[in-house]
């Protein structure tokens, strides 16, 4: 595999191409596991999923079984879901509340802080027997930012705070929408797609496809009185590289938002409540920041595989690479814990209608990604083009934010710490200036 030549990144000539074997090769898939998923900070869960001591959620993180648990001491911890004795999963339900986890195979018992507290016939173990050495094992690193919990299997990884770089500001714009804390709603979207995982990262950041692919969604909203589709291509819409592979698109909202922009589909009775939510945000955060939180939409990518769409609702979407042409997706809805029942209903309706796999939008995204993966079989066409907006400050329908993924990815595959995230257009501008 000729990894250095998987991408052509030529800022001077505004050329950016990705070789399609990046989406089809088993060797690339394995390199990604080692160089990306075994190293980076990876999203695990949200603190609101564990409100009470003893609450736990079972997770798979890059294929590894993990228990995300709040101990009896209220501390959130992550453990590998495997008995230190012979390996059986000690947690065999997706969610619940337990003081301890007893392995059903030989009845070793661990408390919800991970300590080994019970071993049948323990006195039969001779020699250097030490319960502490047999506690549940934790991933090398775990930490949270504003309630979003991450882990890294890499003991030498930089701190989460440093890793998140420019993405923190955008996580703040989500977290600050609540006065008491954001919470993940019950109900999970779990689905598979027969396409390479990076295609969904691209798609989640790709404003260019919004208008043409999702015609049926816009037509439905137009019938409900929507007249703001032009917002998606507004001059103020932006695609931004946030450093370390993270990226975001920002556009004026073309539709209503529970926090907090009224739209006719919400009904007249919602006007007053939305105005009041908005006013409280202005009081707490000032006009400018409240404007960003209420009247703009953001598709945030936290490298390598977390998407937070803060749009007509808020998704927390995690993408797992299963094979070169298969991904698994898990998505949740996030909202302010204090939201009224009527606004919560609007939030869920908005999510179901566009963001979910049964909606008027996502099924067509899945179809597009699978169509790309099928198209890659035409190996004679070797390159995908991701060069939109290389000669200007990129808009949300350009691809600078998609290049952020690819530049970091390409560096990681080559064992380098980071890609070059400097602006695309500077070199071209310098070139033009010197030749003019």
């Amino acid at each position: 595999m000729d990894v250095p030549n998987l991408i052509i990144d030529d800022r001077k000539n505004a050329i950016f191409r990705v070789h399609r074997t990046a989406m089809t090769s088993q060797e690339v898939f394995e390199l990604e596991q080692r160089n990306i998923f075994d190293r980076c900070w990876l999203y695990v869960g949200h603190e609101s999923e564990l409100p009470n001591p003893g609450d736990y959620r079972r997770r798979h993180v890059a294929g590894r079984p993990i228990v995300f648990v709040r101990g009896s001491d209220s501390v959130i911890r992550l453990f590998f879901n495997t008995c230190t004795h012979r390996g059986a999963r000690i947690c065999r339900q997706d969610a619940g509340n337990q003081a301890s986890f007893q392995c059903f195979y030989h009845s070793w018992t661990f408390n919800n802080k991970g300590e080994l507290v019970g071993v049948p016939d323990e006195e039969s173990y001779a020699g250097e027997w030490n319960r502490k050495e047999r506690a549940l094992q934790q991933p090398a690193r775990s930490d949270n930012y504003r309630g979003f919990w991450f882990l890294s299997f890499n003991p030498d990884m930089v701190d989460l705070d440093e890793y998140l770089a420019g993405a923190k500001e955008y996580l703040d714009l989500v977290a600050d929408q609540s006065e008491v804390g954001m919470r993940l709603l019950p109900g999970t979207n779990r689905y598979a797609t027969n396409a390479n995982w990076k295609l969904l990262v691209e798609n989640s950041l790709d404003g260019y496809h919004g208008a043409p692919l999702h015609v049926t969604y816009w037509q439905f909203l137009a019938k409900q009185g929507l007249d703001r589709l032009g917002q998606l291509t507004a001059d103020t819409a932006r695609g931004l590289d946030l450093g370390n592979g993270h990226a975001v698109t920002v556009s004026p909202a073309p539709y209503g938002r529970p926090v907090a922009l009224w739209h006719p589909t919400f009904g007249e009775d919602a006007r007053e409540e939305i105005a009041s939510i908005r006013q409280r945000l202005i009081d707490r955060h000032g006009e400018d920041r409240a404007y960003r939180m209420t009247e703009t939409i953001r598709n945030l990518f936290v490298y390598p595989n977390l998407i937070i769409n803060d749009v007509m609702a808020i998704t927390v979407r995690v993408i797992w690479s299963i094979s070169p042409n298969q991904m698994d997706v898990t998505a949740w809805a996030l909202g302010p814990a204090e939201e009224s029942s009527s606004m919560l209903k609007r939030r869920i309706e908005g999510f179901n209608l566009f963001l979910g796999p049964g909606g008027f939008g996502s099924p067509d995204d899945v179809e597009a990604l699978e169509a790309c993966q099928e198209g890659f079989a035409a190996t004679a066409v070797e390159w995908s083009d991701i060069s939109r907006g290389m000669r200007r400050e990129a808009t949300a329908i350009d691809e600078r934010q998609v290049r952020a993924l690819w530049r970091e990815w390409h560096a990681h595959l080559q064992g380098l710490p980071h890609g070059d995230h400097s602006p695309d257009y500077q070199l071209a501008a310098q070139e033009a200036a010197s030749s003019g």
Binding site: T193, T216, F220, L344, I348, G356, G359, E367
Partner: protein
């Protein structure tokens, strides 16, 4: 209180209605399907990890009122519903029909389903149960509430609910 005979007649009527609805959907006569609903109707497909949850407070897969039911039909009739253009072949097996409760104006019933969807080299089998609230309308029945609870743990391999389930 309905007699045993009357209950058997209701069950038979409900079964015939559900079989007819399944035929309408397998024939892709989507306008006819939308016409089966009352104006206050609701069509719900809950999340696979919250099958019995209240859609007002739980993220699901589908929660349509009559406006969205008609919108879904319009969408599926268009060539721009890409996941269903060209449209898939479906075949529905509806069984174990039971009447749960009858009142003066409504019948609550349940049935098991196996919906097979075939498209683009792939076959999906979606299994689950329906919960219906049907109401009398003229000589026939209309759907006030239709809920399809999937037994699947994840949407795979198909990855979406792109057909009417």
């Amino acid at each position: 209180v309905a007699t045993t005979e009357a209950l058997a007649a209701i069950r038979q009527e409900v079964e015939a209605f559900l079989f007819e609805e399944a035929a309408i959907l397998d024939d892709w006569r989507l306008d006819d399907w939308a016409a089966l609903f009352t104006e206050d109707a609701r069509y719900v497909v809950p999340a696979t990890d919250a099958r019995h949850a209240d859609p007002n407070v739980t993220l699901g897969l589908i929660d349509d009122d009559i406006v969205r039911i008609r919108g879904r039909v319009e969408r599926l009739k268009s060539r721009h519903a890409h996941r269903e253009f060209p449209s898939s072949r479906t075949r529905r097996l509806i069984t174990n029909v039971r009447v749960l409760k009858t009142t003066d104006d409504a019948i609550q019933a349940t049935a098991n389903f196996l919906v097979s969807r075939v498209r683009n080299g792939q076959t999906d089998h979606m299994v689950g149960r329906y919960l219906y609230t049907l109401v009398r309308a003229g000589n026939g029945l209309k759907i006030r509430s239709r809920r399809a609870e999937l037994e699947a743990e994840t949407l795979a391999p198909h990855g979406t609910v792109s057909i009417i389930l």
